[in-house]
Symmetry: D2
Subunit: 259 residues, 4 copies
């Protein structure tokens, strides 16, 4: 009878663990962590170029400071008196459609675009007409080009990953400028999306790269919170930093008064 | 053979659900929600006084404004682009030892104190000498008495729940004042702890009352965030509200430069 | 300047907490918990009929046994050696689009249907033609009617909440039978959705009723796990209950062998 | 005035991100991910030996199959209809004191042991007399030695990390055998703990290595669940796999019947 818990990832043979068919103990000391990540996600070992590209992607998202919602959530939860894993999990919860989601959306956009019969010009026109933002394009500060995109694309070129997905991503950037009369740069989410697509990863895994890369930043933040700040830290001063916009004080109607 | 998933809470007989032995459909329309909470936690139906006491406890913790870590975490996670359940869960994660944990600790303190052979005076002396805070005592603003404690204790007296646990809790308050020469008021966590102990609940369930009562506040906050605020809201301005205390900018050593 | 943390739910005046304008201390001992839930979600106090309807809704979802994904997740997390709040939060995380989401979807369907200019017959036809399931309809066992729906609808009738939303919901049930030649019963999610819509709640709050009602069940399950089962319980026997569907054991290629 | 949000991890200068003082863009393409992890956790760049040791540690915990509570929780939550990040977070929640916690406990044991004035023999005697398990020792199957420990210790020796912490850890293993007359092997948690201590990491970070290494496994499992299994999968058959141990069906007492 078919079993209800099925997996193609890991198997135990005797007391030995095998990851995607390889004995885990053989991987320890022989693979870099990013190579093992590649293996567990893709099912096959990376070659040297794939290994280097994976390292670059994971490093590029490792942290972005204390202000993003994920770090606020992680440190607030830790501050409630919880252990490291609970704070880190709260941070990962924050990686919704507006926080890391652009990477997944951009991968989907690029993969569907590359396999579409429509021209780049048609694809861009449809988006612009629908007024939906094109995932992976636009940046608050960078108006000419995003230096992180340039860095990743340079590495991709050197390693041989500048193929049709990356080309499509950059063509869309130029096409937006042409149709809109204004540049929306291919941002770092879009760049990672293009390269990961080039490497053959499914867009449904997009947020996974962000989660795996950023988790180290979250661990560092929660550890810092637990070791340098007081529990239940009053980061938000209710009197000066919050605003009440609701109904002013009123009396409980007499029919509710039992006491 | 003994099965691995065992429970004494809920059973299905045919397609009917039974909670602690009662047909769920019979409970709907006949029990208040707080009565059903009492039943599912305690295993038996409450009488009228127990029902009223449970309502009072749950209402007393329903919300405490936007500033606690739980609400900050819940709203930050929602703001990352997640659905209602994910934001609410992040809020509940924040209920660690420093946020709701006092209720559990105070229940344990009171239950162990009541069944101890030591006198109140000895118990208090040991705590004061060890410099550990006594859980359930002390408040930032209330120095004479905590009005929420008074409210709950008045209700407990009317309903017949002012027994040995409540007496013990108030005796400790007086004994602290005597030995320390300074009042540490029995706060609202301590008051709920005393009353819940009087009702026969195990201290390990303490945080459960807080979770069940406060979840409605969290739902209201996350709903408000999702319907009135923009995603990825920039609540923390990195330039003006954060401080970097680490290593100043430095050059990557040449031995690391591959490109 | 407009503040970044705004709320219309709770305000502190002096050291007193006000919920939707009412002094929290006045609510304690005067409101049932379900009345307080209604107040905090809706912004106004319920009348007697609204109070009873709210009690019935919350009780109807309080637990559904040990098998749903939420309880499995909650108990697995608790079993990893975590405290009550962490297990409960994991359970709430499981309330995604396939677990409690039907309530939200059905509320949306009913609210949009009632305010639509299309006829019930057109609405049903469009769904059936698109082969999308109609949220709130169909049940594995109940083919004639869902007894839980009957119970809630009877209560709604008695309390005066059987208005256009409930009527629409039941008309859709009959229309499906007519067009499809087969009954898909209005299930309990659909019934709660109809009644909550009748009470004027926004569909975006739909999952909130489920979360608030079910959280008591989750607390009971996690407490039971923590007090009656061993930590890291081996509920899943790897040898007999799991199946490996991946690549069989293979050798690490020599170019990866550094040791 | 001192700001409320302080961090020593990451700084923005202009629009550039600096991690522990190094420009993030310089790290991309130059550091392996494990090197970046080392940097963000420790505050300094690793040398070549530290880099290799870190890779080995992270790879060694990357996955352990479908049966642990973390994977059950992660897949159950995903199965409820949630996105990748929510499932992964649920898995991380499960890393409590009984699941990954041994690594943290063993690091603390080793670090305190090494800096203690007591002899190994005294330390072991105290534990054995108190009947508390010594964290990091003992294995269900391995009775002579744990092959994973051997692998990590061999690597540690080659890289120069076999110092006083590793020696202490192995001496404890021998001392247990001597005093108890039975071997409790230094297991893989204990081995990682010894090596990470040797590298100068604080025991409070212990679970962090486990979280960072295992997160890739969780991403793979949740992705697999989302792409190969049906939502709300019925993994637990209520009739055959669960056991009800509670009160048998009984009638709701008449005083509760309002309808």
């Amino acid at each position: 009878m078919e079993k209800k818990w099925r997996t193609a990832i890991t198997q135990h043979v005797g007391h030995e663990t095998y990851i995607r068919g390889y004995r885990l103990l053989d991987l320890v000391g022989n693979l870099s962590y990013a190579q093992a990540v590649y293996l567990i996600l893709k099912g096959e070992l990376p070659n040297e170029k794939e290994s280097k590209m994976m390292e670059a992607i994971l490093v590029s998202v490792i942290d972005h400071g204390i202000a993003p919602p994920s770090v606020i959530a992680a440190r607030a939860v830790a501050s409630g008196g919880n252990s490291l894993n609970v704070g880190v999990a709260a941070g990962i919860l924050a990686f919704g459609s507006a926080h890391g989601g652009a990477l997944e959306d951009a991968m989907r956009f690029i993969q569907e675009g590359v396999s579409s019969t429509k021209s780049v010009s048609e694809i861009v026109r449809e988006y612009l007409e629908s007024k939906k933002p094109i995932p992976g394009y636009g940046h608050r500060y960078y108006k000419d080009y995003d230096p992180r995109t340039k860095r990743l694309m340079d590495i991709a070129k050197d390693l041989g990953f500048y193929g049709k997905h990356c080309q499509f991503a950059e063509e869309v950037q130029e096409e937006i400028a042409r149709q809109k009369g204004k540049r929306l740069v291919l941002n770092v989410d879009g760049a990672i999306a293009a390269v990961a697509s080039e490497m053959g990863f499914d867009w449904r895994l997009g947020k996974g790269f962000f989660i795996i890369g950023r988790v180290a930043g979250l661990v560092a933040h929660v550890y810092e919170e637990l070791t340098t700040e007081k529990p239940f830290s009053k980061r938000l001063d209710e009197e000066t930093e919050t605003e009440y916009t609701g109904t002013p004080p009123r009396e409980l109607p007499p029919e509710f008064r039992r006491r």
